[in-house]
Amino acid sequence: MYKLTGVNKIYQKGRRTVPAVRDLDLVIEDGEWLAVQGRTGHGKTTLLQLLGGLDRPTSGIVEFDGQDLAQLREAQVTRVRAASIGFIFQTFNLVPTLSAAENVEAALIPLGTPAAQRRHRVNAALVSVGLDDRARHLPSELSGGQQQRVAIARALVKEPKVLLADEPTGNLDEGTRDEIIGLLEKLWRDLGLTLVLVTHDSSLARRAQRVGVMNKGRLAMAGLNPGGCAARP
């Protein structure tokens, strides 16, 4: 799915340069669940943004499905994101004025899906996260866990190849956290997704197939996780 070679991302802050990612090489196989750990400010989110084409590396190659995202035009990267990459954010990032169903529908708009088909797929996505009875609720009328479920439905409604989750349980209480991670794990298994999950929570990371640790912009792979989720059947 992904092959990163010699990737660097350097931010310029006035005269100072801040290397967020340094000389990163990484291969992520199809259907793999990779957890990326690390302390705050060590480049986890930057890595995720590079994987999702939300930002461009300063140097290096970010190959996704055979295409170097760093070399594509912005419109092309946007098309790749629309069709193949789903995002889940720590703060849910739902549009506050749209209902749960409309938030999920927003992910299908760039694909030009006809309205009737959109409704059907939105409904199916909400059913898969157990929120079909909350379709018309606004985000302000949903709990944190429910909002994150809506975000997961939004990420999955377009049947992406990869799901990128940035601290998906960071804003949730323990019980809800387990609920959400359990849901993600189930969907990963059932749908055969490639899942890259950024977290600073070790207990969460241990559930993944493989764990990498970001430390001052460098990625060290901790290897396979024998005590984790186990291989997909």
Binding site: D55, R56, T78, R81, N93, A106, I109
Partner: protein, 476 residues
């Protein structure tokens, strides 16, 4: 439909800001509508005043030169004079004098020097001239002298006067009668060219209890009223119209009778672009005559009509432009602020695969929706403002210059010479109608949409260029 749903929800979310922006634009657009309506109303009033003076279709007017005032102690040649002395008062006309006491003196005079009627044809042949017609603008002045006139204690009474227009019946589309509408009876026909018939202005007819069939006396000649006409309300038309040939027969000018003479030529140019050249050519054919166009006459009109026109065109125009610019600026700044607050939301949409232009279209749509609402309210405010102006605005006064001075009546007596002359200008009261036209409404819509597009473009310009990662990093 998603676009509309998102737009509607977002406007509802920031209702207060949306109302503020819409109201700001409404005030700006309303002001533009009111000022434009008032300005066009004033322009129409000015045009009515001018057209009533010389009639519809007249582009250039030629009048004879104003005769020089008489030297003190000397009566002008052919003038009618009163001589007051120890033997009583005498009235002298054309060199003959007689006792004036108890007499009614009636004079139909031309205030300007006459022009040969052959010059009318010469003007008509000029390049750029479509038609030319001659006329006589005369004043009939009557003084009823008391029986003790000329004796100690007796003074010259105030004369009564009315205006008489000698009309070229063969060119009825030119001249003051061309803009009149017949209220009763009929206007002149070709058969009336040498008849003692008159058409009377409705205002004069009402004031003097005249109707079709009544008799009016002009310079001691009886004319039968065949029609009553009305002129545009703003005009100051002649009181009585008679055939040109009859006016030439009974009127007098500074140099005597007016046979084959006119004192005004009405000219129609082929186009507005030809008017300056025609004006120049006529001045060559008739040096010494006064050649005026509608625009040069407009500059001589004074009074509150003129002041209001300046106010509407200059102050009003700039005020409405400034208010509109301020409204656009506020709308733009508020939209930019609102978009900036939604940076993370737009970053998320970009992460979902929304292209920048779709996001820009969303912002533009929200902005245009607010502006269209503001525009509609603005049109409503403008219509209400225009209606209010029409309802409560006082009539505007227009001091319109008349051609030359008054009748040639002078006295020579112990007190020196005196002369009678009606005012060189007369005041016309013009109602103010602020009219909103379809063009003004279209302008309002265009301004509203333009305001919305400008505000939306300002607001969305930066967000469209922002990388998704940078947008997502923004804190709301």
């Amino acid at each position: 439909m998603f676009f509309v749903t998102y737009l509607r929800r977002e406007l509802r979310r920031r209702m207060r800001q949306a109302v503020f922006i819409a109201l700001g634009l409404a005030v700006g657009i309303g002001l533009v509508v009111v000022v434009t309506a008032a300005s066009s109303g004033v322009k129409k009033a000015q045009a009515d005043v001018l057209s009533s003076l010389y009639g519809v279709g007249t582009d250039v007017t030629v009048t004879g030169a104003t005769p020089k005032p008489p030297k003190s102690g000397a009566a002008p040649k052919n003038a009618q004079t009163f001589q007051v002395g120890p033997g009583g008062a005498q009235f002298c006309s054309n060199g003959k004098c007689h006792n004036a006491a108890g007499q009614t003196i009636d004079n139909l005079g031309s205030p300007t020097s006459p022009i040969s009627q052959s010059k009318v044809a010469a003007v008509a042949r000029l390049h750029g001239v479509t038609a030319a017609a001659g006329g006589l603008t005369l004043n009939d002045t009557q003084i009823k002298l008391p029986k003790n006139f000329g004796q100690p204690g007796g003074s010259l009474p105030q004369p009564k006067s009315f205006s008489v227009d000698g009309v070229d019946i063969g060119h009825s589309s030119l001249g003051p009668l061309s803009s009149a509408t017949v209220k009763s009876g009929h206007s002149f026909t070709a058969a009336d060219a040498t008849s003692n018939v008159a058409v009377v202005d409705s205002g004069y007819a009402t004031a003097n209890s005249l109707k079709v069939g009544s008799a009016v006396t002009i310079d001691k000649v009886k004319f039968t009223v065949i029609g009553i006409v009305g002129q545009p309300q703003s005009g100051s038309p002649p009181d009585i119209y008679i055939p040109l040939a009859r006016a030439q027969a009974i009127g007098t000018g500074p140099d005597g009778k007016l046979k084959n003479k006119v004192n005004t030529i009405y000219v129609t140019a082929a186009s507005a672009a030809d008017i300056p050249a025609v004006q120049k050519e006529i001045s060559k054919v008739l040096p010494g005559a006064t050649v005026t166009t509608a625009s040069s006459l407009a500059s001589q009109v004074t009074g509150s009509l003129s002041s209001t026109a300046k106010l509407a065109n200059e102050l009003g125009k700039w005020l409405s432009v400034l208010v509109l610019i301020a409204a656009f600026a506020v709308a733009g700044l508020l939209t930019m602020a609102a978009v900036s607050r939604r940076a993370r939301e737009f970053g998320t949409l970009k992460a979902l695969g929304w292209r920048s232009r779709r996001i820009v279209a969303q912002v533009l749509g929200e902005s245009v929706a607010m502006s269209v609402i503001g525009g509609l309210v603005g049109v409503g405010l403008g219509l209400a403002g225009a209606a209010l102006i029409t309802r409560i605005a006082p009539k505007l006064s227009a001091n319109v210059p008349t051609a030359g001075g008054g009748p040639r009546l002078a006295t020579n007596g112990p007190g020196g010479s005196q002369s009678f002359s009606p005012n060189a200008t007369h005041t016309v009261l013009v109602p103010m109608h602020a009219s909103v036209t379809a063009e003004v409404l279209a302008l309002a819509v265009v301004l509203a949409v333009a305001g919305g597009l400008l505000a939306g473009a300002l607001g969305s310009w930066r967000i469209g260029r922002l990388r998704p990662a940078a947008a997502l990093a923004r804190v709301e």
